[in-house]
């Protein structure tokens, strides 16, 4: 039965691992599975920057491999298996939808270490890591709330999963705090990367009066759409997208995976790797705020920098009460900080956001 395959792969993986250990000069092989193309200018681009940083850091000590645009599902499982078979020691699977495939493949290769981005399932050889993007969203929301003239902020949302909902809530909380009249218009596009769909969503939002467009998708298409429309501001997503500055792109959230990838690769080389859950933010530099361009007035910029600093030192958490849920029910009391459960599984809007999360 299946046992035979399993045993073969286990034996193989074990053989490869001991081979690497016995011969100290054997290269450590690090694999990356990407959901988009490395030229997306956003999410996958930044993960690939992490791969390049690992190569830079370790030189001949490591060998890196990657496969891009891998669909989430059966294909992802095959790509991961193939990497593990070909001798990868550490595999980063960089999209939420790779969660079950990662767990399945990891079970067959107990000696290969896996790192799954933004998921919640772990195993002895599967770590999870994610960034507190909502800290960056707080800064975006603040700047957006101060900059908007139409008081309509457009939001291109990808999938209704907690990570995206957190971003919407965080941006809304901080926008409405400085501008109580602000209204969010949200479009769900059900994709991480589809320039055509993203551009279409941006145009619809702009037509509906949005003069700021936030995006939780990976391409630069919304930036280009805003540029073409004129008078609309945007923020770089996942990557700086500096080529669209100083406007429409007035700042950005940058995912800086490089230090984490270097640290984890080092741990595999040293044999000190253990399964853990990492959730870092502005404090460790995993989330960076790209330069705030000169289009933003000096006082707004100063406020934003102060907000960043307060999150960096840990003195402020973006989800601090008083906050109510969308239906008006009490959620966090004055001064109360969000609990881990609500943070990780967030599936509701805060008071003031209109519309429903697709169910």
């Amino acid at each position: 039965m299946k046992l035979k395959t399993l045993l073969t792969s286990v034996a193989l993986a074990a053989g490869l691992a001991t081979g690497a250990a016995a011969d100290g000069h054997e290269k450590t092989k690090v694999g990356f599975v990407y959901v988009g193309p490395i030229g997306d200018g956003g999410w996958t681009y930044e993960h690939h920057q992490g791969l390049l940083a690992v190569e830079e850091e370790f030189g001949d000590q490591v060998e890196t491999v990657y496969v891009e645009s891998v669909p989430e599902g059966a294909d992802a499982e095959r790509v991961m298996t193939q990497m593990a078979l070909e001798g990868a020691d550490l595999i980063f699977t960089t999209s939420f939808g790779y969660m079950d495939p990662t767990i399945n493949v990891a079970a067959k290769f107990p000696d290969v270490k896996f790192e799954h981005a933004t998921g919640f399932k772990r195993a002895d050889n599967v770590s999870t890591y994610s960034a507190r993007f909502y800290e960056g969203r707080a800064v975006q929301g603040h700047i957006a709330g101060r900059m908007t003239e139409s008081n309509i902020i457009g939001y291109i949302a990808s999938f209704p999963i907690p990570e995206v909902v957190r971003g919407i809530n965080s941006a809304y909380i901080h926008a409405s705090r400085v501008n109580p009249d602000v209204e969010f218009k949200i479009i769900w596009v059900y994709t991480w990367f589809d320039p055509a769909k993203e551009a279409e969503a941006a145009n619809v939002l702009i037509e509906q009066g949005a003069d700021i467009v936030l995006q939780h998708t990976d391409s630069t298409a919304p930036q280009a759409a805003a540029q073409a429309a004129g008078g609309v501001y945007t923020f770089g997503q996942a990557s700086d997208m500096a080529e669209f500055g100083p406007e429409p792109r007035i700042s950005s959230i940058i995912d800086n995976w490089a230090p984490y990838y270097i640290e984890r690769t080092q741990a595999v080389i040293d044999g000190t790797w253990v399964s853990e859950d990492t959730f870092d933010g502005i404090d460790t530099g995993m989330v960076e705020i790209g330069e705030i361009s000169d289009v933003v007035p000096a006082d707004v910029k100063a406020e934003a920098l102060a907000l960043i600093e307060s999150m960096r030192t840990g003195e402020y958490h973006p989800f601090t009460g008083p906050l109510n849920k969308q239906d008006g029910s009490a959620w966090l009391a004055e001064g109360e900080v969000i609990g881990v459960g609500d943070l990780l599984g967030m599936n509701f809007y805060v008071e003031g956001v209109s519309g429903e999360i697709p169910q």
Binding site: P37, V65, P71, E72, G73, Q82, G97, P358
Partner: protein, 360 residues
């Protein structure tokens, strides 16, 4: 001077030779592309076309070829009947999705009952779902003369929205912490479409694909239905005189391709994919169109073409991972294959004459 001269009838030799020529040309021009990318062209071609079959890890890749090829073959067989008769169902992707949704829904309605009777029920529901989705463009064409190409294609996008809605709503796993996606059907013994022999890649979908190939072969060469299909494609007027009801033929061809696409979706969702998720479909329905033509709409040809496409997918991934080739280069290679196939197809119907020749 080169001149094309129409053959009195399509050349039999070229009918078989053109796919091989197209593959050869793809290898040559693909090799040039890879060389331009700074890779060793022979090495890349070998990695893509041979490594999945003969490398150190071929014990893993060979079964994967079956898993990747089966839905392509199953869908392409269904499409080939319509294509032969001049009925263009371009929306197999949508029928594949709806088949998977209906099959999964039928099973999940009975969750967590433990009986193997559930699986056949799901198979039936999957085929019905795909059939029903294909009947929409079919009936519209017969009743109102709408264009089945456009309607079936547009219904793909409707099916994708339906899929997203199902993954987020009705079929969402109640134990999934609010994340989209259904329960894992491959992990529920009543619905699991596991390998029949471990490590072989043979799941029910692969079996169904082989059965479909055999039935299609018999139907086309031995059955009146195959004759009607062929006649309608070659000469619609003659077909009408022969007493073939064009409306009925359209409905049968659309229904058949829809049902087979639905089956492919069902076998995929219960096996390799495991769950209804927002991006469950990965383009099998569209790739199957290439497979159908690459296989010359002939059952055996489709079987071989499905294997070849699966090979470029799996070999392409190996080339990406081991040789650092970009994904776009692999997609270009697959595009070239269809392009050359259509281009050299001209040789089947025309012959090339060099020189002035007699006036036609």
């Amino acid at each position: 001077m080169l001149r094309l001269e129409k053959r009195p009838q399509p050349s039999r030799a070229w009918t078989f030779a053109t796919p091989l020529l197209a593959v050869a040309l793809t290898m040559v021009f693909g090799g040039i592309l890879f060389a331009a990318l700074g890779k060793n062209p022979i090495g890349v071609i070998r990695t893509i076309f041979l490594d999945p079959l003969f490398s150190e890890f071929s014990w893993f890749y060979r079964p994967q070829l079956l898993i990747k090829g089966a839905p392509l073959v199953l869908i392409a067989i269904g499409l080939s009947f319509g294509f032969r008769a001049g009925i263009w169902n371009i929306g197999a992707e949508g029928q594949y999705i709806v088949g998977a949704i209906c099959g999964a829904a039928a099973g999940l309605a009975l969750y967590p009952a433990e009986t193997r009777l559930i699986f056949p029920l799901m198979v039936l529901a999957g085929a019905l779902g795909g059939w029903a989705w294909a009947m929409i463009p079919g009936v519209l064409r017969v009743k109102f003369g709408t264009n089945e190409i456009l309607v079936s294609l547009m219904l793909v996008y409707v099916a994708e929205q339906l899929l997203a809605s199902m993954a987020l709503g009705l079929l969402r796993n109640p134990d999934g912490l609010g994340f989209p996606g259904s329960r894992n059907l491959a992990q529920w013994s009543s619905s699991a479409n596991n390998e029949l022999i471990a490590g072989s890649g043979m799941h029910w979908g692969v079996v169904a694909a082989f059965i479909a190939v055999i039935f299609a072969y018999v139907a086309l060469s031995r059955h009146i239905f195959g004759f009607q299909v062929k006649l309608s494609g070659q000469s619609p007027r003659a077909a009408t005189f022969a007493g073939i009801n064009p409306g009925r033929l359209i409905l049968i061809c659309m229904g058949l391709s829809g049902a087979l696409a639905g089956l492919a979706g069902l076998f995929e969702v219960t096996g390799p994919s495991g769950q209804i998720s927002i991006d469950f479909n990965v383009g099998y329905g569209f790739t199957a169109i290439i497979v159908a033509f690459l296989g010359r709409l002939h059952p055996i040809g489709i079987l071989l073409a499905g294997g070849l496409m699966a090979l470029t997918y799996i070999g392409g991934e190996i080339a990406q991972s081991n040789l650092g080739l970009p994904a776009a280069a692999i997609q270009m290679l697959q595009g070239m294959l269809l392009f050359f196939l259509l281009a050299v197809d001209v040789l089947t119907n025309y012959r090339i004459r060099i020189g002035q020749g007699a006036a036609a």
